[in-house]
């Protein structure tokens, strides 16, 4: 185990994982909120766009999305996120795909959060003359966010772990290094242990944090 840590730059690889996860989480929260609003909006077309988004991206394996981002989007459609450097192009696409994929889950988490808000709240908001946007912004989403902390937490933790899938396009993170180590050292148990522990260190505190948050922020009813 010590040998792996001294021969390979495990910390740098996990730093890649952390960067990827942060970018992905930020993007997923933004995208997820937008899509949730679309799905709840009065405009039919927006609802269709929202449900199309969720159905497509929630239902495709992330591995395929990652491969498509390079094979399809970069090479066939010519959408490069960094024209100078293929490696950073792959890294950025990996972050985008993580955001796109988990955005669908965030949207569903928010929707189930909205479902826990009593209908009277929405009715009251409308009764005092708030528009759709205002009642979303001031009444529903704040409560929905608090009500859906647990599923959102699960999604973010899943995102961190799913960042390993970026290895299929050489995204430059922990799983990428793991395949290099396995290639050179063979698939030994200690190799897995190093990387498993790394992920436990990253995600376990986060899981505990979200659990306590969901308890503290729960809307008392």
């Amino acid at each position: 185990m010590g040998e792996i840590l001294s021969n390979y730059d495990v910390l740098a690889a996990f730093w890649g994982t952390i960067k990827l996860s942060l970018l992905g989480t930020f993007g997923a929260l933004v995208l997820g909120t937008i899509v949730a609003v679309l799905r709840l909006s009065p405009v039919r077309v927006f609802q269709w766009i929202g449900s199309w988004y969720v159905n497509t991206f929630r239902n495709t394996p992330l591995t395929l999305l990652m491969v498509f981002s390079i094979l399809g989007l970069t090479f066939i459609l010519g959408l490069q996120l960094n024209t100078q450097d293929l490696n950073s192009n792959a890294f950025r696409w990996a972050a985008v795909m993580l955001a796109v994929y988990h955005g669908a889950f965030i949207c569903e988490a928010l929707r189930s959060g909205v479902n826990t808000v009593p209908a009277g709240q929405a009715e009251a908001a409308r009764a005092i003359g708030l528009t759709f946007g205002q009642s979303m912004q001031h009444v529903l989403l704040p409560q929905a966010f608090r009500g859906s902390i647990a599923p959102i937490g699960s999604t973010i933790i899943a995102l961190i772990k799913n960042s390993t899938v970026a290895a299929v396009i050489g995204g430059g993170e922990a799983a990428n290094l793991m395949s290099t180590v396995i290639e050179n050292e063979g698939s030994r148990f200690s190799v897995f242990l190093v990387f498993a522990i790394g992920f436990v260190i990253l995600t376990l505190p986060l899981g505990l944090f979200f659990t306590s948050m969901s308890r503290r922020l729960a809307v008392k009813r």
């Binding site: 449900s51 992330l62 505990l208």
Partner: protein, 295 residues
């Protein structure tokens, strides 16, 4: 879906016109995007006949590759869904237990399995099974896939159960206790049914995750849809089309699963309408189309 109908008024003539214009603009944009994609694929040599024809003309494509892959995926997913649901229910209820040690043990188990990546668990389980010969050699990959998917997704489902119960109005449990039910009975007959209904959208998401994550089995020699479509791509030199077909198959499968769950959700809602309070669906004014946005 329930919140929608109370969020805004029925659109008037002006709003309807605006919506119609938006619809046309959206449709035009979609057609343009599709055209660009097709043109680009053509210039990239991805639309040649030999790449796509086998899917229609060659029975071997389906018989020897895709159907085998589909069966592998579905088999692993079904077993895992059943186990994960049981695991999640047991440990979710365990975390709500009034007995402190039970609560602690369940919490530790759930938090741990939520923290480790599925892939790493899969590889670990596979190593343990093969070294100790727990199952027959050909069964080890499937067993490892099922184990990893069950532990991880079961832990997530446990979380859903717990947070679902917590999000219920307090009065529900108190009322149950007041009429003389035990805490177990309150949980079983009052809180759990409502919590599961409220958390159903997220729960469906989890089942779909299981179906998709079975694709990670590729890494431990479990042969499922993704593995077979890769092999197919090599044999017919049509990697990109093979992946597109695989994606369509995955989306269709998962979509059907979601639809099924939505139907179930609706039925649950209808039943729980009178008792559900905050959680179950609000009565729909004038039978408005609640399901404009299928999940």
């Amino acid at each position: 879906m329930s919140a929608q109908s109370v969020l805004f008024d029925a659109p008037g003539p002006k709003a309807r016109r605006r919506h119609a214009i938006l619809a046309v603009v959206g449709a035009v944009l979609a057609v343009v995007a599709l055209y660009v994609v097709v043109r680009k694929m053509q210039t990239a040599n991805q639309l040649q006949g030999y790449m796509w024809e086998p899917f229609l003309t060659d029975r071997s494509v389906w018989r020897d590759y895709l159907l085998k892959g589909l069966w592998g995926t579905i088999k692993a997913a079904l077993i895992s869904i059943v186990f994960a649901a049981v695991f999640g229910l047991v440990f979710g209820v365990g975390r709500l237990s009034t007995i402190r040690p039970v609560r602690w043990v369940c919490s530790v188990v759930v938090e741990f399995f939520r923290a480790v990546p599925v892939l790493i668990m899969m590889i670990f389980a596979f190593g343990v099974y093969t070294r100790n010969g727990v199952f027959a050699n050909d069964l080890n990959p499937l067993a490892a896939v099922v184990t990893a998917l069950t532990l991880y997704n079961g832990a997530v489902i446990a979380e859903l159960v717990r947070s679902g119960v917590h999000s219920l109005p307090k009065g529900q449990g108190e009322a149950g206790l007041a009429v003389g039910l035990t805490t177990g009975q309150v949980l079983r007959s009052i809180q759990l049914p409502q919590a599961l209904t409220a958390m159903l959208p997220a729960l469906i998401g989890q089942f779909v995750t299981i179906l998709k994550d079975s694709a990670l089995g590729t890494a431990i020699t479990y042969t499922e849809l993704l593995t077979w479509s890769k092999t197919l791509g090599s044999a017919f030199t049509n990697t990109v089309p093979a992946y597109i077909v695989a994606a369509i198959l995955f989306i269709t499968m998962n979509y059907l699963l979601s639809r099924l769950a939505v139907t179930v959700e609706k039925r649950l809602n209808r039943r729980g309408k009178t008792a559900g309070g905050a959680v179950a669906a609000a009565p729909l004014p004038g039978g408005a189309p609640a399901d404009a946005t299928p999940a």
